[in-house]
Amino acid sequence: MSASPNDLRSPLARVRGLGSAKNGSGHWLTLRLTALALAPLGLWFVGGLVRHIAQGDYTAARMWLASPCTAVLMVVLLVVGFHHAANGLQEILEDYVHGKAVRLTSLIAIKFAGVLLAAAGIFSVLKIAFGG
């Protein structure tokens, strides 16, 4: 088993792919990057809500969402938002849920639910954008 001079991990550790924290720096970085993206995206969305949605008018809301820029940003917001949320929830699970089976099942359920909901949201945006 050849160990590169930069790798102090045992073969088992390399195979399992987990550091002592049970997740690596990828998790940390993804959380930061999604956060960075969500800051302007979220503010943009809140601004859009104020200008086009808050009145409750159906036509105005549809017109805004149907515009290409809005639709694209909305899709990105959904994807990045759900990813950030799942990531954050994972940290909560890891901190408070100690049973391995419960934690793993919950994590999978959250990630699957996130994908489903994001898909439903994206479908809705596209339906509005292409439907006019």
Binding site: R32, A35, L36, A39, G42, L43, V46, V50, A54, G56, Y58, A61, R62, L65, M74, L78, G81, F82, A85, G88, L89, I92, H98, G99, K100, A101, L117, A118, A120, G121, F123, S124, V125, K127, I128, G131
Partner: protein
């Protein structure tokens, strides 16, 4: 090493919540986590609203009625504050990641700023909307 809870020996934990006085640091930290969780709970509502908008005017009108109800408005107000708070404290975290303001004084100052800005933005939002 037994990891299943049925085999785990229940070892005593150092008391923490019973001992430490709540401070701006700890309260703001747990609020950041709680607002994050609260916003996540709001995501299905966001999708529900989008779905209704895509379905048609009747479905959309029902969603608008629900969200305009007293309970709905309280939830929306809560989510809006949660969003601004989580945003401001999130930016605070990102600033810390660069190494800046990681001092007792820096944490205190940035904390007060975050609290103030998030509350202000929430108020501004609702004044604009209503």
């Amino acid at each position: 090493m037994a990891s299943s809870s049925s085999q785990k020996t229940l070892r005593p934990l150092s008391p923490h919540l019973q001992i430490y006085r709540p401070q701006i640091t700890s309260i703001m930290s747990i609020l950041h986590r709680m607002t994050g969780a609260g916003l996540t709970a709001g995501l299905p509502v966001l999708v529900w609203w989008l779905w209704a908008l895509a379905q048609g005017p009747e479905t959309y009108a029902r969603v608008v009625t629900c969200l305009s109800s007293p309970v709905g408005l309280i939830l929306l107000a809560g989510w809006s504050w949660a969003f601004f708070y989580h945003l401001c404290t999130g930016v605070r975290h990102l600033i810390w990641d660069t190494g800046a303001f990681v001092t007792n004084r820096g944490v205190d100052i940035t904390g007060r700023i975050a609290l103030g800005v998030s509350t202000l933005l929430t108020i501004l939002l609702w004044v604009t909307v209503l």
